[in-house]
Symmetry: C2
Subunit: 420 residues, 2 copies
């Protein structure tokens, strides 16, 4: 490995001659002196030089003496440098990565993602995502969950026939999985508690700021619950664990973006769908984005919480595998978790008896045939269970205040975008 | 949550009245007494009963008094039980899950995966996979790597035009990603060190025991290397970390299968391709499976190592992004890691200069057009870098001695199989 110290470690080497390596973030020539700012994965380092300097985005190794300087990032700079260029750029990048913010339009930025993401403001959301996922896994590992990997190519649509991508599978028609729903339920029969972090695919035909054709779904499912409230309790732990991991692992990314992670109440407030209708003055069987915003504002006002569970969604609006509320006909044991005005998580208790599945499918006019593989699990004894799915990009967008979900993933896929 | 103790914890509750929950693994009626074996995610518990017992795969909650018994698994059993059935099976499962091994054929087992995987011998490989992945991430997190999530839908084939699944992407032709290769390289420009655990897709037209149409690829890529040997050193740490995680997290799965994880030498022995040819007596430009087996046997004999690096593969046999060996024309800085007679990992140093990419593509008669998004990264300064990809299912198969790779994944996809 190239022997080097990281820019964030310069203070530990005061007075020593060290080598750093990274990209030329900026070169500045003043009358009598020049500065080279070198960017590595830990931050920026300033180099003071008298000579010629390589252009921005050159990859360099710089050996110099670590010297205190109040004007330098981190309070130290390198002086008397020897600069070796490891790799030269072909020309100036499409934007000045050293400016505080990129001024290009979002499509231009996305077209040049491999370069644009080098900007500290643009890479920070990806660091936040990575730290969040680590917290998701850590929390569930601690609760005895097992990680699984399920098929992304399936014989029939998971959630509904709409919005599904078709594949040519060795001459047969197949589809990209819209969720790992059936598989994670089946695996409750094996491991009781499972999770998966993986891509899911939706052929979303609308060009909106909150939908992607591929996103990362954080899925969990657990057996031996009494009802959906046990699932909500686990979800509360997961969200708290993700935020804790953010603080521990992505502190500098949070600082760069000026993001203060929210706190999670010991018990996240919950409102039943029927009461949510009363609060929003709506009588529709589902919540619109405007209703979700209203409810979130209400939760902040009444409970001081940026998180709010809405429980008991009408059965008519939930998928066939949803468990009904035994006490309130027409309502389900399904819930959503709203975060800052938007649905972040969908979850609930599922049916666990084979006969209930047969009846639920019949009621929707569907045959059991397309679901044979899935229904097997329920033929042979399944415990009461439930789970949830959290969209990673949506989580990061809410946390960072990104106006468009495309700012929270490295290489978004949508109606129009298939590259880079 | 249903309040219960796990079967593995019975000893801690000797003399107490406790509740366990799980599946009826087996019921046995003797003349004067009956036994119920309950299976939960931690193991088996024995219940002694006088009454009627629910059939196999019923989901039950059993409250009883924990009593020492030398004949019971773990040395304790439940007596004076009250048994509540939470969920009844529709009939007898297609195989007796309580037998030491399933005697059904592999296709029958795979057709009934949601039930078959409940068998301790069949779930164990999946526990080994989960623990291995945890070790992969843990090791790389410790080395300053960042986790990424890259597109699985791409505009052109990654590795070669062959073996790629076509998708209808909003009326355009697109493909399932064969690897995250281009994206992980681009992200070296952002984070220097990245990894991804995710599905990759190969439309493998042959029905073999070692290929799947979807498998889980453990990918890593890192910048600021001197050459491929730095990548090999990181890979050695990763393999050691995976094995350590296995011992820590999947001890009981290893025991069930009678698997003793191999040890990894402080430095894994390496043989150059040209020397490997001499050892195998071959003059072909690639290694056949038979050659890989021969070389592995040689490594055990000569170096006491079940792992062997083969370095310096001929350029002609490696992808266009491979870095040549500056000292030996015709040979590359690409390597494979063999484990127990089979290629487990492919890796190497990559080209990092834009002009080198243009030349490499031209030499293969390819235009740069299809690679524009990818090549952007190299236009604007990329450090010397390299990486590797490890197939999770192949790793688990080698460790467990599985004859067929389909035994190491929950729901395999192949030429013929698209469900469950």
């Amino acid at each position: 490995m190239i022997s080097r110290v990281m820019s964030a470690e310069l203070a530990e080497h005061a007075g020593q001659r060290v080598t750093i390596a990274g990209w030329v973030h900026r070169r500045r020539r003043l009358k009598s002196v020049s500065f080279l700012i070198v960017r590595d994965r830990t931050g920026l380092a300033q180099v003071v030089s008298g000579g010629d300097l390589p252009p921005e985005e050159s990859v360099v190794e710089v050996t110099g003496t670590v010297t205190a300087s109040t004007a330098a990032p981190g309070g130290f700079e390198l002086v008397a440098p020897e600069i070796e260029v490891l790799s030269e750029p072909c020309g100036a990048p499409p934007f000045d990565l050293y400016r505080p913010a990129l001024t290009a339009s979002l499509p231009t930025i996305l077209d040049h993602a491999p370069v644009a993401l080098r900007h500290p403001l643009l890479r920070a959301p990806l660091e936040i995502s990575a730290a969040s996922v680590a917290g998701f896994r850590e929390t569930l590992d601690g609760l005895g969950f097992t990680e699984i990997h399920t098929p992304k190519i399936v014989a029939s649509a998971t959630e509904s026939g709409a919005n599904v991508f078709g594949i040519d599978y060795f001459g047969r028609r197949a589809y990209l999985a819209q969720s790992p729903q059936f598989y994670k339920q089946a695996m409750v029969g094996v491991f009781e508690r499972v999770y998966e972090v993986g891509p899911v695919f939706r052929a979303e035909p609308h060009d909106t700021v909150r939908h992607l054709a591929q996103y990362t779904s954080l899925d969990a499912e657990l057996g031996f619950v009494r009802d959906h409230r046990d699932v909500m309790a686990v979800l509360r732990e997961v969200v708290a664990g993700m935020l804790e991991s953010l603080r521990a692992r992505a502190g500098s990314a949070l600082d760069v973006l000026g993001v203060v992670p929210p706190s999670v109440p010991a018990e996240i407030p919950a409102v039943h769908f029927a009461d949510a209708q009363r609060l929003t003055g709506s009588d529709e069987p589902d919540l619109s984005p405007a209703h979700e915003r209203l409810l979130s504002e209400w939760a902040v006002r009444e409970h001081g919480s940026e998180f709010l569970f809405v429980t008991g969604y009408p059965m008519a609006k939930r998928p066939f595998y949803t468990h009904p509320d035994p006490a309130r006909p027409g309502y389900s044991n399904g819930f959503d978790l709203l975060f800052r005005g938007l649905e972040l998580v969908t979850g609930g208790q599922r049916l666990h008896r084979y006969d209930d599945y047969v009846a639920a499918l019949a009621q929707r006019g569907e045959s059991t045939e397309a679901y044979e593989g899935y229904l097997q699990a329920f033929r042979y004894g399944m415990p009461p269970h439930g789970g949830f799915a959290l969209g990673l990009e949506r989580w990061t967008a809410r946390l960072t205040g990104a106006a468009n979900i495309r700012q929270t993933t490295a290489f978004p896929r949508d109606l129009h975008r298939l590259s880079p």
